[in-house]
Symmetry: D3
């Protein structure tokens, strides 16, 4: 069993706030991340699949096809977008990386053949990232 990881990039805007809370409570919990006029990040996405290399290609999965899949299913939906407004699957949740990474899992996992989605890692800054293993 080999684990293959592919990195992609995208950037976007978001705002962390709970609409059921007062402005004061949002500021207290989310600090500057609650800024009404948004802020944003460059995100690094690492997607890991696992499987046995195909004897004919030596590949767990063709990394260029994995890249193509991620650009189509993830980057096209999240790059240069506002995660509070522009992404239907993120409506009704606070667009933290904890919640975004679970949506990315749902977009990617149905499209893999011959290998299995193992981990999605989403890096928000050089100091903060999350990992999700699907459950």
């Amino acid at each position: 069993m080999i684990y293959l990881t592919r990195r992609e990039h995208f950037n976007g805007a978001h705002r962390l706030f709970n609409k059921d809370w007062s402005a004061e409570k949002n500021a207290e919990v989310f600090g500057k991340c609650a800024n009404a006029n948004w802020h944003g990040h460059n995100f690094d996405l690492y997607v890991t699949v696992k499987g046995n290399p195909d004897p004919e290609t030596g590949f767990v999965m063709n990394a260029h096809q994995l890249s193509h899949l991620l650009k189509k299913e993830v980057v096209a939906r999240l790059d240069h977008k506002n995660y509070n407004i522009d992404v239907p699957e993120l409506q009704g949740v606070i667009p933290t990386i904890e919640n975004v990474v679970q949506v990315i899992w749902k977009w990617v996992s149905p499209h893999l053949n011959g290998c299995e989605l193992y981990c999605i890692k989403l890096v928000e800054t050089e100091n903060i990232y999350v990992e999700y293993y699907g459950d």
Copy 2:
């Protein structure tokens, strides 16, 4: 003469568009960067000062004081902000890194004593950055 560089971080949202142009022309020139609902970046700021080390301290400038100055004059104004809306000095210009870096120069240069501002470098993504030397 020694050149001392200090790095700081901030992140923000912006939108690249020219209000005198049609939506079509904005999309043609700025592509996804013209998204009406904003996008954002993590920015790395590198500020270089030049001078002769003080014999009593060995410092061109105390790097912690330089950091303090940059946090007060730059990070406080740009971190978790929308550069089209929240920053008075950026009103009336398109908030590209070319224009942001010139504003940062104006904020920092009056506050240096015993050394001189030499260069401001602003990194928007791992693939794009600008440098400005003050003229």
Copy 3:
């Protein structure tokens, strides 16, 4: 279950030597790391917690609170210190990153609520790091 990681920095001095050994044996085993006048490193600390995101915040844990906790419990004790002299919890052991990481675990783990400490990673140079999962 989501895994959230926060990075912090500190630097310090140490010396690797076993007081029960001769200078020759220390030099043979630890090489330049046994230098009597110390040497030092920039350390990168990655702390990973795991839990379910809180529906009201979208957070496994507020990353700014995690940073505050790490600065108080770890960075304040290890930054700009000598690990052979200045850190009571490291007396009586050789201050390798293998031993330092176990002490960091003890400092951090009692202070987490609503999520669980999963991994502490300590990077000594770009070529060497350790990871500890608590047992």
Copy 4:
């Protein structure tokens, strides 16, 4: 139990193609990687061993000895080599990183004493890497 990781570098040339396929099918599957005149990469190798620190040294394994072992068993065989031609253990397989990493495991694992080989990670570009845990 502590996990210790050591990084090493090497670079080499390879070509991805299946000798039982037509040039057309090789181009279709492997794209530019099938270029008849080779291409190459800088590879970063991360080797992780696990064990309990020796009370006399504080080490899971002496990182300099691990480096020496990796330079002798891996770097000497792969650095500045052509993986389709110069490496006997890679003859008969397509030299993808999936296949190279399994050969590295066989070279390293017999030489560890007092700790156990846990993972080998091989990074081909900043966007692609594989990990192997030995089965």
Copy 5:
């Protein structure tokens, strides 16, 4: 005047040897880099242009157009190629990064309008790079 830098990647194979020298002298001067069966690298290319931002766009040059130009004029010629064989402009010279960077300058400089080529930086490994300013 603002300096704008764009990064691109490519990888390739090469061999450093002087055809007028004996195998012994080539090995003495170029070491492992003279390996007859080639070796290769991931190359990072940084291209810096200088100019005054256009008031209508805020750009010295549209970074996406600069990327497109570099992909067409440089990456298409050097990515997944053998620099001793596949690149007509490198025939008759030893394909060191010192020589490659001068060829890249010739490919890029005729295609800039409204700004000027300032520097080309080519990174061969994390430890070695060259810069060329056009004369």
Copy 6:
């Protein structure tokens, strides 16, 4: 004219304090960097030479010989050392990177033939570095 840069590493301990000052004034100016029991860093050294490539080798200077020179003249003197105690050329000055980089220049510049020393860059943390051009 081509500029060639080579990176090397070393680590060491130091303490920033002025022996003519009180403990209070040292703490006020140097903060934690004045800790009596030392602290330390991983240092990255970038040395840039300039010259015309030799037509017979394609090299401004053989990067492996430059590495060998730097290991002999710089790394051997600074790696795993205490810069307040172990380095004769640093006695009588405060061992800031501003002062260390000037000493490195004196060690390296006499040993170059066929090219010229252009810049020495010394990186103390990911946030602080200095550059020196020899005057």
